[in-house]
């Protein structure tokens, strides 16, 4: 500002001027003062702005007031501020953007992030924290952390640690509502180093924990499995082959503790001979599966099946070896092999042919053939082909056009059910029993049992069932069949049927005397003769030992039957020459006529049988027609048999005695004891009627003993009565001879009765002597040694050769009454009697003639020097009392000759 001095005022004016000047001066001072004040203010504000700008205040010497004004610092600073503010604005915008970005990141973080102040009040949180800790809630800012998120155990609060250390703290496992978190708390410190905020980052590790847990579980499970499996398991280091782990089974199998086993080289336990040859590590196999020996701690070995393979575990190469004890299996295998061997040898050795076959089907699925897959040697033999011609061959080529039993085998395969059957294979000409079964689908096994021979034998048996083997005549079964037919046929034609029941007379004697073989020959000849007597339409059957039945068909009358019977008797009467011997056989025939004598087979045969017995009773060598009263006799026979059993107990037997005379002087020399049976209702029964039954039933043994005891006792009684001592003769049965203890029995009886042996004579028949000559000689000698006398009864009726007699210690021969009877009429009988006497004497054996009834007979025999006699001429058999009387009379008369003796009884026996 410039001050102008152009106008100078007057004094007054001056004064005024002066005053003006003063005023001006004053104004000037005022203005200067103002100006200074403005400048000062300006500087002050500039400095203030500069400070704000971040620089030093202006120094007056650096910038004078004028420059200051001209430089216009205010303007510069103002402009600069505009720029600063503009930049600030831009920066703010960027910051806002950055904040949004951070918030977005904050919210999108998977971890829960909380920002709390030092008082634990929530300042900020992200979406994840809301989801985890306070879902569905807003406005959590300002809430205290303890209200909603606190460790489940207070004393572990890691925030305390942060506060204490003012440093980042990590908690590995923070649990909240069943979830697991990993937490990092980071404090933010203010300028004073105090905690202003803490940032908490919660990472959800629940899944990781679960995974960890399931890994632990899996590991535990694996461990349990590892130790509970039956198989032994080793883990080996692939390089060193040392065991790093072993399960319990492995330890047990080896017999070592886990401590002992760990670090052991596997070669010491397995494959000891193959060190350096490990299939896995040395030979490059990925898997080894082989049978090995396990060397156990106790030195024993165990057969094991070992599996080895490599595995990678935690980056380490290992060999996993597992092994199981197969010793039992091995044993079973070898047992199986043995069994297989056994069955194979059986298969090879068995006589039955065995074939394994497979069915062959046509396109329609119908079996039309079968192939033989396997065959045993027996089958080769049956088929008469070598195995290479059998195996693989079709049955049709082996058996001919049609495969044998194809349909049956197909059925076996189809149903799976085994079948057994018999069949004839024509191409082989043989009969087989075939068993077949199907061992697997489509196949069948067949066992061929050649039963050709058996079948033949069965046929033979079948034949034998209807025919008598010996004579080839029909047997009883066929007879009944034929008779049945004959009856039916004759009924239709109004004809009669004759049934002839034939029994060979005294065949038993023939059999006993000549032996069974000759007996059989005799039967054959008789059978032939019988067959020759009948028509073709008739039947001759053998129904028993010596029994034959003849069926005469189409009979017009009974005469036909008697004609045939007579013819038969005549034919049989012709002598038979056997082994150089001449044998005479006769037969007794009973005849029943259908329909007169019965309406059925059984009745007719029974009645013919009854008639036959009647024929026998009437003296043999004859025939009898059945009459109805014969039935009564048959019944009587049956009853007798029953009563005979009780007769001994009931005391129905008694002994009669018949005198024996010295032919030279008529003196009584002994007596024959004769058995009598007095039946309570039937009265006296002749021995000829009951002795055969007694023989048959064995009753003869007790009866025989009773006879011996009674005779001996009675003889002793007579002797004790002072009567002259005589010998008593007792008949012996063939059966008594056979039981073996006859000598002992005789000795006992003599002992009991106190009778001297010389007063007992045993009478035997010829047949007894001939049956078993050796034994008999010994027995007779034993008896003879005792002092017993021996006689042969009924001599001449049998077939014994006189020549035999010299071998036996015989005292006496008794000429059978049948010779004596006709001795005067029949020159043959006379010749025989004479010859017997001469021969016996030459052997120093006495001869006693039985059945002497007349003076003429007596004279004839006396003339032939017969030693002794017995018969009605002298005395009938007498009861004890009568015989006692005879003896007493004899004694009184002294040497009375019995030639003139009269019997006290005229009762005739027989």
């Amino acid at each position: 500002m410039s001050v102008s001095k152009a106008h100078i005022p007057s004094s007054s004016g001056t004064e005024e001027l002066l005053a003006q000047i003063r005023r001006l001066e004053q104004e000037k001072q005022e203005i200067l003062k103002k100006e200074r004040s403005v400048t000062r203010y300006l500087r002050e504000k500039i400095d203030q702005l500069l400070v704000v700008m971040g620089t030093l205040p202006l120094k007056p010497e650096e910038l004078d007031d004028d420059t200051l004004v001209s430089l216009d610092p205010v303007g510069i600073i103002a402009d600069s501020f505009v720029q600063v503010l503009e930049h600030l604005k831009e920066t703010n915008e960027e910051l806002t953007l950055a904040h949004d970005e951070v918030q977005a990141i904050f919210d999108s973080a998977g971890a829960a992030i909380l920002v709390i102040d030092s008082q634990m009040n929530l300042q900020a949180y992200n979406l994840s924290s809301r989801d985890f800790f306070f879902p569905e809630q807003n406005d959590m800012v300002g809430r205290n952390l303890e209200e909603f998120l606190c460790p489940e155990t207070k004393d572990e609060c890691f925030l305390d640690k942060i506060v204490a250390t003012k440093w980042m703290v990590e908690q590995n496992e923070f649990r909240h509502q069943g979830r697991f978190f990993h937490v990092i708390g980071t404090p933010i410190l203010d300028r004073n180093g105090e905690i202003s905020q803490i940032i908490l980052v919660y990472t959800d590790i629940t899944n990781r924990k679960k995974t960890e847990q399931s890994l632990l579980d899996a590991k535990a499970r694996l461990h349990a499995i590892f130790n509970s499996v039956q198989a032994g398991i080793f883990l080996l280091d692939a390089k060193s082959h040392r065991i790093v782990e072993a399960n319990e089974a492995a330890c047990k199998l080896v017999g070592m503790t886990p401590q002992e086993i760990i670090n052991t080289e596997c070669h010491q336990l397995f494959c000891a001979a193959e060190k350096g040859q490990c299939p896995i590590t040395d030979l490059g196999q990925t898997l080894d599966n082989s049978e090995r020996l396990l060397f156990r701690k106790d030195g024993s070995t165990l057969q094991v099946l070992k599996t080895a393979t490599t595995i990678s575990l935690d980056g380490r190469e290992l060999v996993l070896e597992s092994f199981i004890d197969i010793s039992d299996r091995k044993k079973a295998e070898s047992a199986l092999q043995e069994s297989e061997q056994k069955y194979r040898s059986l298969y090879n050795a068995m006589k039955e042919g065995v074939a394994l076959n497979r069915l062959v089907y046509d396109a329609a699925g119908k079996p039309y053939d079968y192939v033989i897959l396997d065959a045993n040697p027996a089958l080769e033999e049956i088929l008469d082909r070598p195995s290479d011609h059998i195996l693989g061959s079709h049955a049709s080529t082996i058996f001919g056009h049609h495969p044998v039993c194809l349909e049956i085998f197909a059925e076996v395969v189809n149903s799976g059910e085994p079948k057994a059957f018999e069949t004839t294979i024509d191409s082989l000409g043989k009969v087989f029993h075939i068993s077949s079964f199907s061992p697997s689908p489509g196949t069948f096994a067949a066992v061929f049992d050649d039963i050709t021979e058996r079948k033949r034998a069965e046929d033979e048996v079948q034949r034998l069932a209807y025919f008598d083997i010996l004579t080839n005549l029909p047997n009883r079964a066929l007879l009944l069949d034929r008779l049945e037919q004959a009856l039916a046929q004759s009924t239709r034609h109004g004809e009669q049927v004759g049934i002839l029941f034939l029994d060979i007379d005294q065949f038993k004697g023939i059999n006993d005397t000549l032996g069974h073989s000759m007996g059989d020959d005799l039967l054959k000849i008789i059978a032939e003769r019988l067959s020759s007597c009948i028509r073709k339409s008739d039947t001759v059957a053998r129904v028993g030992g010596d029994e034959f039945v003849i069926i005469l068909n189409y009979m017009a009358n009974e005469q036909d039957a008697s004609t045939t019977a007579e013819k038969i008797l005549k034919v049989l009467a012709a002598p038979i020459y056997l082994n150089g011997q001449e044998i005479f056989s006769t037969a007794s025939i009973g005849i029943a006529i259908y329909p007169a004598d019965g309406g059925d087979c059984d009745t007719l045969l029974k009645n013919a049988d009854t008639a036959m017995y009647q024929a026998k009773d009437s003296g043999r060598n004859t025939y009898q027609f059945y009459t109805s009263d014969m039935n009564a006799q048959a019944l009587e026979r049956m009853l007798l048999q029953n009563d005979l059993r009780r007769a001994l107990d009931r005391g129905e037997f008694s002994l009669h005695y018949q005198a024996q005379i010295n032919a030279q002087n008529g003196q009584l020399i002994g007596m024959e004891a004769l058995l009598r049976w007095t039946h309570p209702t039937l009265g006296a029964i002749p021995p000829s009627k009951f002795i055969p039954f007694a023989e048959e039933t064995g009753m003869i043994l007790p009866i025989g003993r009773w006879v011996l005891e009674t005779a001996c006792r009675q003889n002793k009684v007579w002797q004790e009565m002072g009567l002259p001592p005589l010998r008593v003769a007792v008949n012996l049965s063939g059966r008594q001879f056979k039981i073996g203890n006859l000598a002992q029995m005789v000795a006992e009886v003599l002992q009991q009765s106190q009778l001297a042996a010389e007063f007992l004579e045993l009478e035997l028949t010829e047949s007894i002597l001939m049956e078993s000559a050796e034994d008999t000689v010994r027995l007779l000698r034993d008896l003879k040694k005792m002092g017993v006398q021996l006689a042969i009864d009924d001599f001449g009726t049998g077939y014994s050769s006189l020549n035999y007699l010299k071998h036996f210690p015989i005292d006496r021969l008794k000429i059978d009454r049948s010779f004596v009877r006709d001795i005067l009429k029949d020159p043959d009988d006379a010749a025989i009697a004479e010859a017997v006497i001469v021969l016996a004497h030459s052997l120093k054996i006495k001869v006693l003639a039985e059945g002497v009834e007349t003076k003429e007979q007596l004279d004839f025999l006396l003339a032939r020097r017969c030693d002794e006699m017995q018969g009605y001429y002298f005395s009938h058999p007498l009861c004890v009392d009568d015989f006692t009387a005879l003896l007493q009379g004899h004694r009184q008369q002294g040497d009375v000759c019995l030639f003139q003796f009269k019997t006290p009884h005229s009762v005739k026996h027989h």
Binding site: M53, L56, L71, I77, Q83, H87
Partner: protein
């Protein structure tokens, strides 16, 4: 390319001490503001005042520019470049 188009304006403010050096620098920054904002120039101040190497970068930074200080033999080179980010 941008670097190539960038024009460097030199200002020798050696001899001036701080407030004046700063003000000078500020005046130039204000004057070239449009070009700086457009990114076509950069200002290079030669100063021998140590204070200025602090005050000029401080102010320029507040304005949003990029500042580089280089020590030359007998002076400092304060280079203010536009912020191209």
């Amino acid at each position: 390319m941008i670097e190539a188009e960038l024009q460097t304006l030199n200002f020798d403010i050696r001899g001036q001490i701080c407030p004046s050096a700063l003000l000078t620098a500020l005046r130039e920054l204000n004057r070239h503001r449009p070009s700086l904002k457009k990114g076509t120039v950069r200002l290079q101040f030669l100063t021998d005042n140590r204070d200025a190497t602090i005050t000029i970068p401080g102010a320029a930074n507040n304005m949003g520019y990029v500042v580089e200080v280089k020590k030359e033999d007998s002076y400092y080179l304060v280079i203010v470049s536009p912020n191209l980010n």
